[in-house]
Symmetry: C2
Subunit: 444 residues, 2 copies
Amino acid sequence: MRYDIAIYNGTIITVDDQFKIIENGLICVAADRIVRIGPMPGNGPLPDAKRTIDAEGGIILPGLVNTHTHLPMTLFRGLADDLPLKQWLEDVIFPAEAAHMTPENVRIGTSLACAEMMLSGTTTCCDGYFLEDEVAQTVADSGLRGVLGQGVMDFAAPGIGDPGDAIAVAERFAVKWRARSPLIRPSVFCHSLYACSAGTLTAAKRMADKHGLLFQIHVAETRTENENIREQHRTSPVGYLDRLGLIGPNCLLVHCVWIDDADMAVIAERKAAVSHNPESNMKLAAGIAPLTRMHTAGVTVGIGTDGCASNNTLDLFQAMDITAKLHKVHDMDSTAADARTIIRMATRDGARAIGMEAEIGSLEVGKKADLIIIDVRQPHLVPMYHPVSHAVYAAKGSDVNTVIIDGRLVIENSALVHLDMLEIMRRANSVAKIIAQKDIPQWS
Amino acid sequence: MRYDIAIYNGTIITVDDQFKIIENGLICVAADRIVRIGPMPGNGPLPDAKRTIDAEGGIILPGLVNTHTHLPMTLFRGLADDLPLKQWLEDVIFPAEAAHMTPENVRIGTSLACAEMMLSGTTTCCDGYFLEDEVAQTVADSGLRGVLGQGVMDFAAPGIGDPGDAIAVAERFAVKWRARSPLIRPSVFCHSLYACSAGTLTAAKRMADKHGLLFQIHVAETRTENENIREQHRTSPVGYLDRLGLIGPNCLLVHCVWIDDADMAVIAERKAAVSHNPESNMKLAAGIAPLTRMHTAGVTVGIGTDGCASNNTLDLFQAMDITAKLHKVHDMDSTAADARTIIRMATRDGARAIGMEAEIGSLEVGKKADLIIIDVRQPHLVPMYHPVSHAVYAAKGSDVNTVIIDGRLVIENSALVHLDMLEIMRRANSVAKIIAQKDIPQWS
């Protein structure tokens, strides 16, 4: 058979059940699927393919899965840092959103995020925001894969003047996007326990279940949230959600910093999953989620960057390195959060957490062709003893030189193939000039 | 006057006393010094210079100062990770050093480190290792600036068969290099309290004082070290050093994870400084140094990466970002370790910590021309509201496109000007092949 793409001369980290590593591997793609993977046959010619890609000794990984983003917020990258959380949110971020998150700016910020993510090796994101219809169109156009959640909360938000309409808007979004693009899966994103009433949470979850959607929610992010929920409801944030009957296999619980062993048991029992966002939790001083204990309890945990206003980068390679280091020192155990565990979190466990493990997250025959190549011909990637360690502790997002999503080459020679990067940046800078006129607090 | 170099069209973060930021700035260099700095004069022509550099809207920073390295250990990057500290050190690193750290391999590993550091914006390193004469020649040849400490301890080490010779070797090194290159300052590096007797420490410090050298030592890195010293000497590691009379203004105390308020008061009182190595301390699960309390106590703290066997990167941009985030979550205060503080630590405070603040660490007339330019024309650096925040939370080492050290352009268009990168990598890979034959533990 003639393949569409054949990739050779790289070390493949499959992230399959055996965590198989294939030196001098070969991967062949037909349409949007991986149809062959294994060692390069000795001495024979390359298989017949429309396009052959020489990985030049690099590392071939499943595309990374970012389990928590707010894509349009790239426009607020660095708008305010080093502030108390309440002041950051109420004095800067909320007013900036109210003033600037028009449909056009949502598209501009999203296209900037897609460019940044693809350039740094992310092939799938799980997003929650408002005006998500604009986000979805932009993500689909960019060539990135996304599980995209229209936001629901009991306050006005971009595109939702009357909060009473929020669930209807989310349902229309879900119906519109359920089969519109092979790259997009709709989802529902309830903001949080403090921004949604029990009625809203229940109605949104029921709608998610009806349409088979992923139900995302920020839970147990800050100490304040934990204390308030415990005071109001006499149980933990996770306990409260569970009492409402809302935790199930289609739930992605984002943050879970303030959870205890009973919460973890509930999450594992209900087969829900967690999105761990260490950089955001560190930068906003929310706390450190108990990763090792979640793993021991059998909870599936993916890695997220969170939005650009609270990180300030979408680079999952950086997130992998920090996740590993943070939990070693948090546990005071240098064997904690080892490189294999971290790679699995950023690929296969992330895919499972957002309900997509059947399609993506590992390099195996029959899965979608979402993969990346790390160019190791650089001083900071020499020498290479262990490709898995290398990918976590030495590689950076900028080392990704090739990205394929859904069988389509979107990054080649470290550059965007289909998108006009200069135009994307020019438009984002134009919006930022307007934002900067009124929203920058005294800072430095 | 005709300048050697004129740099224009960038935002300058001076890190001077006022932490002045100059938009659309101009810096002029004559020989090895900054001779002019300020806003670009309106409408006039560019000043006459042999070489003009357009920063293209980028951020111009003092070159970064890495206050703790073991340069040749790039050869062990990723050789062993995720192991218990004792096993990592005794089963892998020590045997690998004994077997492979020949003079030639020290040069090969050092040149790889110099390439990696310059490419990621570091212009000065403070190193401690053995066979430091080889390190010094390689650093000088590479064009990097270094304060380089010949190692002293009571055990055999590369180049020192009889530990009784260690101080004499260190003194010969100091005499040889005291005026040999404008880029190199010799130093003494006593390994640690557990590897050096009181007699060795005292004699090494006396020698350092006699020649006006920086005295470097690993102190209070691990819980075990802290407990052992307290049991043996009834005081803390810092207290023990001070009781020996060895803490003074020429002391760089590396790590200081396990220190208390009394220790900090001593360090501040003696005008010694600390090298903080958060990534190494996290990865080896040593602990978290009390950065904010050190600052409150008036201690000068620089940032270090530590050697590549325990990090595994020499990228100070990554170290800056992690330092900021780690201490916010450690203090549970999002205003801790703000971006200005972090930039100052990685430049001016680092320079002060290694005794070089008179020459480097800020962009001011009369200082050495050590500076870098961050290329902001990339999606992850758009938009830019605050250059200081941007440099800490958004920029990566790979975004540095221009580096000048001692008035000499060493990185241009993100590439090494004078060094053959492919040859450096080829030689390092050759050595690694031999190392890999016997020293790789079962790992993944």
